[in-house]
């Protein structure tokens, strides 16, 4: 009995001593840099990584989130990320990194050279949102937003807001982008971030502070004018190379095949009651979309069907009380016009992607899944020979 107690005591002592001396090698949260966003730019000698870091501080005096933007260079991305740790003494913790911004310089080469790192590494969650930047990624992360202390949080808000809802912002995660790239389509898209200057009452409306800007970065660089972000344009990729862009309405109608819309808007050119040209803001309140590949008489047809419930949310011309009272009902002519506009935009998107050899409608993937026997014979020339039929049905919401 005594021997057994001694044995358990020794085991307990070993565990206890380990816990007290090493914390089982757990990292102290105070020594941790929580990287909330990463920006990647291509430079001559490799990559420049800009990390936006939220620094946890043990204090009861302030509830402010502090952030700092740090950049480092390396031959590879991992090299650059490690460099941040080496220079600051922090453990760069990447599991809170929910946003990856790729600067315009990255798109000169196959973008998968960068994204591969995030797929390979267990340090970054591949559910992180990935987006392209109009300028350098560093500029986006250095910008001040009146909406949040931390610019990447302000940017993330526009991506997360409509994540489950069809919208003009085609939020893409690392996993989604790499899944598309490694599929038979070898195509993909990601939203493009543009910074829009805003006017503030004072010069210092944002409480953003750059506590530490190491590696010689100018703390005021890119932080002069407060900005908001726009991501209603998406960049198209084929074989990892940037080939083109699609704009707001094209993104919105394309996304209706993937997600249901609960509250999405587009502007429809209409003719007012006096016969003058005007615009109406149409709200899509409900949608159901289906995109399928069919084979008819030996020809492959991409068939897209959309059923939309829409209403008028606003017009740029006065309406009668009767029209306002009918809670945004569209007349037959306007419904027909909306249908034509959406179909026209979809055909235009398809033609654009086809001309760029970019299979964003995933027709090759559909060929592989549905007509697997025909895949090897037809996949190469599928986009050239593919016929397309878009059928949109618009109905009044109420």
């Amino acid at each position: 009995m005594f021997k057994r107690a001694k044995f358990y005591l020794i085991i307990f002592a070993i565990i206890f001593v380990n816990f007290l001396t090493l914390d089982f090698l757990l990292i102290d949260v105070e020594k941790t840099a929580l990287i909330v966003a990463l920006g990647v730019d291509k430079v001559d000698s490799g990559y420049e990584v800009t990390a936006q870091i939220a620094v946890p501080e043990a204090t009861n005096q302030s509830t402010k989130s502090n952030e700092s933007v740090i950049y480092a260079r390396g031959d590879t991305l991992y090299d650059a990320v490690s460099e941040i740790g080496n220079r600051t003494g922090w453990y760069p913790k990447l599991s809170f990194c929910n946003l990856i911004i790729l600067g315009d310089s990255v798109f000169e080469e196959n973008v998968m050279g960068v994204i591969d790192f995030f797929v390979r590494s267990y340090k970054v969650e591949d559910s992180a949102i990935i987006c392209a930047s109009e300028k350098s990624a560093k500029e986006v992360l250095m910008s001040i937003s009146p909406l949040d202390n931390i610019s990447s949080f302000a940017l993330s808000k526009i991506f997360v807001r409509d994540h489950n809802n069809a919208s003009a912002i085609l939020t893409t995660s690392i996993k989604e982008f790499s899944t598309q790239y490694y599929s038979p389509c070898k195509s993909g898209l990601m939203p493009k971030v543009k910074m829009i200057d805003t006017k503030d009452k004072g010069n210092n409306t944002s409480s953003a502070s750059s506590l530490t800007t190491s590696t010689g970065a100018n703390s005021n660089e890119g932080k002069n004018t407060p900005v908001v972000y726009d991501a209603e344009t998406s960049v198209l990729f084929c074989n990892g190379l940037k080939v083109g862009e699609i704009s707001g309405d094209e993104c919105l109608f394309f996304s209706l095949f993937d997600k249901n819309a609960k509250d999405a808007y587009f502007t429809l050119p209409v003719i007012d009651n006096d016969g003058n040209g005007g615009s109406a803001l149409i709200s899509i309140k409900k949608s159901r979309g289906k995109l399928s590949l069919k084979k008819r008489n030996g020809e492959f047809i991409l068939s897209g069907k959309l059923k939309l419930r829409i209403k008028i949310s606003d017009t740029d011309f006065p309406q009668s009380m009767k029209e306002i009272a009918t809670i945004g009902r569209l007349n037959e002519q306007m419904l027909e016009r909306a249908k034509d506009y959406i179909e026209k935009t979809l055909y235009q998107t398809f033609e654009k992607s086809k001309n760029l050899n970019c299979d964003i409608f995933e027709s090759k993937l559909k060929l592989y899944r549905k007509f697997n026997d025909d895949f090897s014979a037809h996949s190469e020339k599928l986009l050239d020979n593919l016929k397309v039929e878009f059928n949109v049905t618009c109905q009044n919401y109420i």
Binding site: R4, F7, I11, I14, I15, N18, L22, F24, L25, L26, I27, T32, Y91, K93, S95, V119, R120, Y122, K123, E125, S127, V160, H163, N164, S173, K175, S178, T179, Y182, S183, Y368, R369, K370, N372
Partner: protein
Amino acid sequence: MTNLKKISVRQLCFIIIPLFSVCKFYVLPALVSGVSLEGGWTAVLLSFIFDFIILLASIFTIKNLEKPLYNSSVEIFGKTLTNITFILYAVYFFLKAFIPLVEQKNTISLTFYESQPTLLIFMPFFVVAFYIVKRGVTAFARSVEIIIWLFLFSMLIIFALSVPAGSYGALLPLFNSPRKILAGSYSILLWFGDPVYLLFLGSYLKSKEKLYKKTIISYAVAAIITVFLVAVFYSIFSSVSERQYYAPIKMSKYSITLSNIGRLDYLGSVILSLVSVYAICMPLILCYDSINNVFSFKGDNVIIPFLVVFFEAVLIYFCQNEIFESIKFVQRYFVPVFIVFAYVLPLVYAFATLIHKRKKEKLNV
């Protein structure tokens, strides 16, 4: 070997559901998807069907043996052959725990830790494993009555978060390439062959009433959960699934709910890791049990459970950084050995039991 009959059929079923499935959740989905692509779930289903034959053979053996397996085996094959078989089975069970143990160690260190921790963080596992092994089958079966609920709760969290994230068109074309499906099934062979446990656990059964019905239903539940998990896994990751090791942690993080409530999915994964501790201890207990049968140790033995767990820890220590190389090594050299112990010997026992039973019946007539 008296006074063994201490576990019920219900407890046996509770062993089958979580412990026959949980070890197949971590590396297996990525491995089989790499070989069979969208047919991965079919390959897993095929492996379960092969195992089902062994399950039936094992239940047949249990049902028709009047004495515990070791005693019956001595009666049928003689003491020397039985002792050799049981010693070899002890080695087999020892090696059977190796892959899930390596997987679990890597899952914990790669997903719950930021930096690469040392083996020390995994040391408490060996302490717990030692205690579980030492307490033996009866205590194990009793604790599994709690583990089953933890398992079902973790599966509920994981499926609730991952099922809506899947794009199920990715599972097409169905039954695309039988060759790929067969190759996939072969590549995951090391994760199967669990029904052989029943052959040994059968010695502890209090009653054998409705044994067939209950074990088959439990086995079907374990198979359905595993096949469904692999299907959901491929529907989420499709073309990049080959890279997505440690599936339970990876697949449930894409739910939009998590952006509002935080990483709730870790709760399911942590609970599943706890269930895995039991799944890893299962073959270790049987290893100890087989040695105990051969040498008939008297009293409460501490040394053998300690040695079993200690050597497992030593093995893990030497292979800790080469998980995939270790798996490849075991696959290359041990698959034939594995087939003999997991598939051939249970069938031999079933035939021997049948012949023995008929001989007895003839003698009685």
